[in-house]
Amino acid sequence: MAEPLLEVRDLVKHFPLPHTLLDAALRRRPETVRAVDGVSFTLGRGNTLGLVGESGCGKSTLGRCILRLYDADRGEVRFDGVDLMQVTEGELLPYRRRIQVVFQDPYASLNPRQTVAKTLLEVLDVHRIGSPRERGSRVAQLLTQVGLSPGDGHKYPGEFSGGQRQRVGIARALALEPELLIADEPLSALDVSIQAQILQLLLDLRASLGLTMIFISHDLRVVRYLSDDVAVMYLGKIVERAPTAELFARPQHPYTIALLSAVPEVGGAGREEIPIEGEPPSAVRIPRGCRFHPRCPWKTARCLQESPDLKGILPGHTVACHVAEARLAAGGSPT
């Protein structure tokens, strides 16, 4: 494999909870939300990694750490060989241009008081891309590229539907011709028929622009369409990663299997079902041992004590589970 575009190593981001003088006086321990708790992965140029998990699993925080919206506590984010964690805020500008993001909420992610054209022009202006005359036509071109008409430029975000606003958000991200696009739940605020439109748009743009993407989503169905590889996160850690087809055909981690069986699918499923009970524990009190063990139907004594590492158990397929490996060796194909 060629040099990866992005390499994340042991990334950790904890958020301290408010610790007041009263807490200190009562000798309460300061608590932290362990949002991202040691995540490593690589992403090759032109590939798309789907990052899946339920709310609170740290997938969005991970995305924001890569974007340097949050400063991670520990670890490395190597982009094209450079560790972004070591780059100062002032030197970050060229990297901002190369890494862009599409946000979840098309209502909150656009400044409501700027016309769409102004929003896009400002981006080109700040990065001094093209002459003022060229910028105008570039705006028109960007709008066309995302399926809007150049005349839509003088509308305000409030005059668009959710789907159209998400198109504007995508145009803004593309304005800088980024190499890496992080899409943070770009579809979850949209209606089904509009979701499909935006998903199609992302597929088309990725093909025509050769984008490398991290696609963050809670919806496994959507991830399947867009990703080459999928990483499943649970409570701040990646618990399984595999090429997309492989993951959907032969999921190994009990949490992945549970997620897959929980998706209400149109049409019969016929896959192994693990209906898990209970709810994920809070990221403040992460269970000892394997963090999934309180909800796991397969748990053993070892799971209560020892946290499993990500291990390759099939070609290109890594899983963090003590039991999955043994099950696979015993020939108990989970499907």
Partner: protein
Amino acid sequence: MSAPLLAVEGLCVEIPTQRGIVQAVRGVSFTVERGETFALVGESGSGKTMTCPAILRLIHPPGRISGGRVTFQGRNLARLPERDLERIRGSGFVMVFQDPMSALNPVLTVEEQIAEALPWGRPYSRRDRALDLLRRVGIPDPERRLRAYPHQLSGGQRQRVMLAIALARQPALLLADEPTTALDVTIQAQILRLIVTLQKEYGMALILVTHDLGVVYHMVDRVAVMYAGQIMELAAKGDLFARPRHPYTIGLIRSVPSIDRRRPLAPIPGSPPDLIGLGPGCPFAPRCAWASDECRTGEIPFVRVGDGHWSRCLKADLLEAEAGG
């Protein structure tokens, strides 16, 4: 055949705004039988969310019910005085909302809120009854949860408490407005399983309002697909998915991504219409591949296309061959 549990005929809801009158619900008719599960499916602006409060006569001004008739257990709700309506809302049918945090009272404990919903004059203590309800909805550690306030519960637990409150009156009909949309997928699966179990146990009918065809596929008996305030297609679930007879239904089914078969997505082009000043003709025509001139001008009748299968489409017959693919 005996009369249905609920009959809705020609229901209309209007909401005056600064720009004009939004016609949120435009002549919706359907029936729900005892113990049946019925789904209202649609996207935002389809009128599905407005239909349930309109049935309960709970539309807040300036919105108003501008037409239609709702008959519940043989009684016309429009003719009932507010006092009787309140009684029916409590015991005849109840509603479970999308956001249980705002539907629960933040300053009352779980026990107080369930006890409030319990009918008077039953021979057992309210506390035991509340505890029993919490057990039935699968709340872990129910004794402790009785004293909890809504903010101390997770989203899934709040929705379970909402269900416990709903069940306190042993209603004949449960209206659930996107009850799992705010929840994570594994929790959603738990709550949906719970609703199905409780529905059987209590013999309730259920109207499920949702945007998720996957949920519809697993939960319900009959489906009404709504668009621009109208029911576009009404059918038994099996018929709807196997033989959809409205272009919007077909588009919607093809827009749903699938885990198993990697069929290409076929998004519906365009966006839903403005609900202010809707003209004659089919509201879906601008986005429809089959639309012709008569679709844009004429009144579109709701025609029977099969056994219990209705479609509001002039081309419904043409679609039959198409639908198999």
